[in-house]
């Protein structure tokens, strides 16, 4: 039973790290750009919120197939296929949870606003310096919310994982897959243990997010 739990935690941790690295620049760009393609990028980023996980998983699976350019390239570089592997799960999770990382960050960056960034520039801070020393500290709560939501959403995913990873013990069988597996095998006790664990985890996570949000409101006042 610990196998799926450890795998899930590993997947969520790696996914969150990669997501934050991707989402910070992307959210900053979205928050500050006047580009006409901004709504396009915003829509693409938000797609995983609307698309059924099976649709997303289906396309990711096609993309990861050894015959496709992406899957073929991966096979050439790493020597193994990306579909039905831990790496494949990470890629799928990053795509699937992207809006949960980008949107809180973008909102936080938009609240920082151009005024503070101009003030930083007027004090000789170059753009990256100003980003790290002004925008990021002022968006700390948004960043924390983004990280918590990314992690939690990855822990809770099912459809995409089933499509892209299948159900391979030790490689792609996460908690949600394991619950499904136990239920299919009528092992309700094991299903209960994992499900209750996830339920508590989900509640604690959401409670933390709302507590962070409340703290921000108080902070503004």
């Amino acid at each position: 039973m610990t196998g799926p739990i450890l795998l899930t935690l590993a997947l969520a941790s790696v996914t969150t790290l990669i997501l934050m690295a991707l989402a910070l620049p992307l959210a900053w760009w979205l928050a500050t750009t006047h580009s006409r393609i901004k709504p396009v990028i915003e829509a693409v980023t938000a797609l995983p919120l609307i698309l059924p996980p099976t649709v997303l998983g289906f396309y990711l699976l096609l993309l990861m197939a050894p015959a496709s350019p992406v899957g073929g390239f991966w096979l050439e570089v790493t020597g193994s296929t990306i579909a039905f592997s831990f790496s494949g799960l990470v890629v799928a999770s990053v795509v699937y949870s992207l809006p949960f990382a980008v949107q809180p960050l973008q909102a936080a960056f938009e609240r920082v606003g151009p005024d503070m960034m101009e003030a930083a520039a007027s004090l000789r801070a170059r753009p990256l310096d100003a980003f790290l020393t002004v925008a990021l500290p002022l968006s700390a709560r948004g960043a924390l919310t983004a990280a918590v939501l990314s992690f939690a959403h990855t822990v809770g995913e099912f459809g995409v994982i089933l499509m892209v990873g299948g159900n391979i013990e030790g490689r792609t069988r996460t908690i949600s897959i394991a619950v499904w597996e136990h239920v299919e095998s009528l092992e309700y006790a094991q299903a209960h243990a994992l499900s209750a664990g996830l339920l508590v985890f989900a509640f604690v996570t959401l409670f933390a997010v709302y507590a962070i949000g409340r703290g921000r409101m108080l902070h503004v006042r």
Binding site: M116, A121, L123, L138
Partner: protein, 353 residues
């Protein structure tokens, strides 16, 4: 290469167009004066580098700043709102500037002392009053070791009382650190107190430019500009305050009596603002009059505007402006070149020079 700040700019945003070709001497305080929407803030933003002009260039002391990003321009900006970093203390905000400052700027201790920041250093930004926050913002800008200070209506968000409290700090700092400054304001009083020269902007164009006194005395309010025509005069204290609380000032050999200068000793130079509507005109030296300030002058210029006649007077030293009705002017037969007596009802003190 001239050391001037050369501004040759064209910038259009929607209906508004700024078009300017000016050269400002890089010393003292240059006031940028004009009504809202005249382009004052836009001009400062172009100089700071926050906006890029459609065309033109900005050259300071022979260095072309036009293509430089804001962080590479040696200017210090004080915005209308203080824009202090809320995640840092007062000290943290000042240190932010110090860490990135060029060399050769005002010393930390001097800035803290001149703006009286020592009691604020450990305070959180959220606990500062508007005036305190603006003092910190000015200190922070000074600590970047700027070669040019841009002050964008730094007092506009403050009430009259706070404004009066911060003005002496501002004046003191500008004089003490002798960093050339552009001071944007739509308040003629702030201009009179702080500016050595004035550039008047109207509808994105320079309407007048020159020494503060000359520009102010030539200024007529455009619609929407809430100020009174008048002059700025500098006069020397000839006699310190007497038992009545009145001091005598020497105004090019004539005597001006003013209250409110207790504690100011002989020889000090004060700056006065005399509004045109507070000056009446007599063609002979009047007798038996409660008004004590009677200054003999030559009528240099008479301009008739609507019901008023605007008069420019030469006292042999400073100029005075008077606004009387056209009917009075005709009844007195006022014509350019004649000798008149200016009766000054009120003088407002703008401070020591």
């Amino acid at each position: 290469m001239s050391a001037d700040l050369v501004l040759d700019l064209a910038h259009r945003r929607g209906d508004f167009a700024l078009e300017l070709d000016a050269s400002l001497p890089p010393a003292g305080v240059t006031g940028i004066f004009g009504p809202s929407g005249a382009g004052k803030t836009t001009l400062l933003r172009l100089i700071a580098g926050f906006d890029r002009p459609d065309r033109g260039r900005i050259v300071f002391d022979g260095e072309d700043w036009t293509g430089l990003p804001p962080s590479r321009r040696p200017v210090g900006t004080v915005f209308q709102a203080p824009r202090l970093f809320p995640h840092l203390s007062v000290r943290g905000n000042l240190d932010y500037a110090v860490k990135r400052a060029a060399t050769g700027g005002p010393a930390y201790a001097d800035v803290v002392e001149s703006l009286d920041l020592a009691p604020l250093l450990d305070r959180r930004i959220q606990t500062l009053s508007g005036g305190e926050a603006q003092r910190v913002a000015l200190g922070r800008a000074l600590l970047t070791a700027p070669r040019l200070l841009l002050l964008d209506e730094p007092l506009a968000a403050l009430d009259t009382e706070r404004k009066a409290a911060i003005l002496p700090y501002l004046r003191n700092a500008l004089t003490r650190f002798a960093i050339p400054a552009l001071y944007v304001s739509h308040s003629i009083d702030e201009m009179a107190r702080l500016a050595d020269r004035i550039l008047v902007l109207r509808d994105g164009r320079a309407a007048a430019s020159g020494p503060a006194g000359a520009v102010i005395e030539g200024l007529d309010p455009a619609p929407g500009e809430g100020f009174e025509a008048g002059v700025i005069v500098e006069a020397t204290v000839a006699e310190a305050a007497n038992a009545y609380g009145l001091s005598r000032l020497d105004l090019a050999g004539q005597v001006l009596t003013v209250p409110g200068l207790e504690g100011v000793s002989e020889g000090a130079v004060v700056r006065l603002r005399i509004r045109a509507r507070d000056v009446a005109i007599a063609t002979q030296r009047p007798e038996g009059l409660s008004i004590r300030n009677v200054i003999e002058a030559i009528l240099m210029e008479r301009r008739d505007r609507g019901i008023h006649a605007e008069l420019l007077l030469d006292t042999g030293g400073p100029h005075l402006r008077a606004r009387i009705t056209r009917e009075s002017a005709d009844a007195l037969g006022l014509a350019e070149g004649q000798t008149v007596f200016a009766l000054i009802k009120t003088v407002s003190l703008e401070g020591l020079v």
